[in-house]
């Protein structure tokens, strides 16, 4: 997208999960299918999509929590697949994660301080270093150093999400993957946590991959947005461009589903009908065709390839096949 070096580069990432019925393997769920994107240092890439579209699996694949079937993940110019053992551990401390569930992502038997200090303990820091760094982190995320001796059940959801963020920051990462970090919080607290994340990005020069189903939240934080549908990226461009000029029918439907405060501004495009199809047996050709208001014959036959109708705007849809062809012919 730009001349700058990508911090994170994902190519042809693929993951299928086996489905078992008793002892028989009855099929494979295609959770992530040929996902590709780049994130430049200092930017925020938002990933949006309905639940079950593979957003969280993508995050877990990048962090190595789930082993990919195929694909390349390059972080900081290092190919993660090629690394193992100590080298891998050293590279991977550069990417950390903020989880969705504020209470579920902290160990209830550890104090807040122990939770935040755990990554440091794993990397062999001394008790004194851990104590100092923990108080510093607590202040950085807007809590008090005294909170270190509290236990998770004594803090609110918003406070715990700050703790979660502090733990992700402990190893001074370059990249933080936020998996629905505010979905479990009240609206008023959401804003506080989002602003904290944005402040930290400015102060520390962090890069984010921000996963959410909430289009408003993604618009607020992201520089670039990738829209996922059933394990595939269907559209990818800068945040401004996406919200001003959505190209993929799915993106248009998604955007029109954002509740509008101003009745005059409400869009009136056709609502998407039907449920998201089963990833166990995805539709042939374009995976969105079963729900697409503009589906054509070709959509059932051919899988759409990624086109670039305008510079920096990638979309996988047959609507733009001729568009691009004409452009390249001219």
């Amino acid at each position: 997208m730009s001349a700058r070096q990508s911090l994170l580069s994902v190519r042809k990432l693929r993951k299928q999960f086996p489905v078992h019925l008793g002892f028989r393997r009855t099929g494979m769920v295609s959770a992530v299918d040929d996902v590709e994107f780049d994130v430049q240092a200092g930017d925020t890439l938002g990933i949006v999509g309905e639940s079950g579209c593979g957003k969280s699996t993508t995050a877990r694949l990048i962090l190595g929590l789930v082993k990919p079937d195929a694909g390349e993940i390059a972080f900081d110019s290092e190919h993660l697949n090629a690394l193992a053992g100590r080298e891998r551990k050293a590279i991977k401390r550069g990417m950390q994660m903020v989880f969705q569930d504020p209470l579920g992502s902290v160990n209830p038997r550890m104090s807040i301080g122990e939770n935040i200090g755990f990554p440091l303990r794993v990397h062999g820091y001394s008790a004194q270093q851990i104590r100092n760094r923990t108080s510093q982190l607590l202040e950085q995320v807007g809590l008090h150093p005294h909170h270190a001796s509290y236990f998770p059940h004594q803090l609110s959801g918003g406070q715990l999400q700050r703790v979660n963020t502090a733990r992700a920051l402990a190893l001074e990462p370059k990249l933080i993957i936020c998996d629905e970090p505010v979905s479990a919080l009240d609206k008023s607290i959401q804003a506080q946590v989002l602003n904290l994340l944005l402040d930290l990005q400015q102060q520390l020069g962090l890069t984010y991959v921000f996963i959410s189903h909430d289009l408003n939240v993604v618009e607020y934080v992201s520089d670039y947005v990738a829209v996922m549908y059933l394990g595939q990226v269907v559209e990818q461009c800068s945040s401004d461009e996406l919200y001003r000029n959505p190209l993929h029918p799915y993106t248009r439907v998604l955007l029109s589903s954002i509740p509008q405060v101003d009745p005059e501004a409400r869009r009136t495009s056709a609502p998407v009908t039907g449920d998201i199809p089963s990833a166990l047996n995805p539709p042939s050709g374009c995976r969105f065709r079963t729900r697409c208001p503009l589906a054509m014959d070709v959509c059932a036959v051919e899988r759409p390839v990624i086109r670039h109708p305008t510079a920096g705007h990638a979309v996988a849809c047959h609507l733009y096949d001729s568009d691009t062809a004409e452009r390249s012919a001219a």
Partner: protein, 300 residues
């Protein structure tokens, strides 16, 4: 003024120091202290333990040295409060010293099998797949035999003695403990804090030690504290069958065995070791139930 305070974000309202840090175990302790049944059963356990350990201070009689002239004296005799056995040994002394052996034979297997079973279950659940299949199917083999029969078989194969009782009961208890650990770990291992530890670069050993074990400890503790009563009865049972501590050692089960011929002569004296086994095992079981409530474990 008051309104403005109410509107202030929640996070800023709680004053630092207004609430005290309270760990889970501090809360458990507070709950136990408010439970009279727990305190009662704990008191019984403490008294039994204390009297076993403090036996030399509580009686001047030798548990192994009897007098032919003072055989089978009834409970309440002048110099022997709890009477004497068939060889004229003081029953109180034998019961006190016997507690040392019986409690040890009951508790040691539970402690050892808890340690081993917990690690097996946690490792199986964390790694899953082939590791889980190998470990847990190996555990399942023992379920092919009735527990006490298996213990008798192992103790018989090892030859009589306190050690073989302990080994036999330990082996019998490991599979059920590992199953409890397995199911407890399965619930914990999917939590996001385990993923967070993995993202932080923790090794499987560090994850099991710091993230899993502290979170599966309470269900396992509840389960195994209930096993102490069972293990004491089993150990006494093995001794009764002649597979545990050999006479003249004053073990409760062995005492029942050697004295059973005198049951029609001095039923009250003969019943005493049985009473000790009964009281001890009930006290441990009641305490275990109270622990379950205090630890707030739904079911095991």
């Amino acid at each position: 003024m008051a309104v403005i305070e109410l509107l202030a974000p929640l996070e800023q309202r709680d004053e630092i120091g207004a609430i005290r840090p309270r760990s889970y175990y501090r809360e458990v302790g507070e709950r136990l202290r408010g439970d009279p049944v727990a305190l009662g059963s704990l008191a019984v356990v403490v008294v039994i333990f204390g009297s076993a350990i403090g036996a030399p201070l509580l009686t001047t009689y030798d548990p192994l040295q009897g007098s032919i002239l003072a055989r089978l004296l009834p409970v309440g005799s002048d110099s022997h409060i709890l009477g004497t056995d068939e060889q004229g040994r003081d029953m109180l002394a034998r019961l006190l010293y016997g507690g040392q052996l019986s409690l040890f034979a009951g508790i040691a297997p539970v402690v050892i099998s808890t340690a081993i079973g917990t690690i097996i279950g946690a490792v199986a659940a964390y790694f899953g797949g082939v590791v889980e299949t190998l470990l847990m199917r190996a555990m399942d083999v023992s379920y092919a035999f009735p527990a006490l029969l298996l213990a008798i078989g192992i103790a018989a194969a090892l030859g009589p003695g306190l050690t073989s009782t302990i080994v036999a009961i330990t082996i019998v208890l490991i599979p059920p403990v590992s199953r409890v650990a397995l199911s407890a770990t399965r619930q914990v291992v999917v939590q996001e804090y385990v993923e967070a530890a993995s993202v932080a670069g923790a090794s499987p050993r560090q994850i099991i030690q710091y993230q899993l074990l502290p979170n599966i400890a309470s269900p396992i503790f509840v389960y195994t504290s209930g096993l102490i009563g069972l293990a004491i009865v089993s150990a006494s049972g093995l001794s009764f069958l002649g597979l545990g501590s050999a006479p003249p050692a004053p073990e409760w089960g062995a005492m029942l065995n050697t004295m059973r011929g005198s049951v029609y002569v001095a039923p009250d004296v003969v019943a005493l070791p049985g009473l000790m086994i009964f009281v001890t095992s009930v006290a441990f079981n009641v305490l275990s139930d109270c622990l379950r409530d205090a630890l707030d474990v739904k079911s095991v």
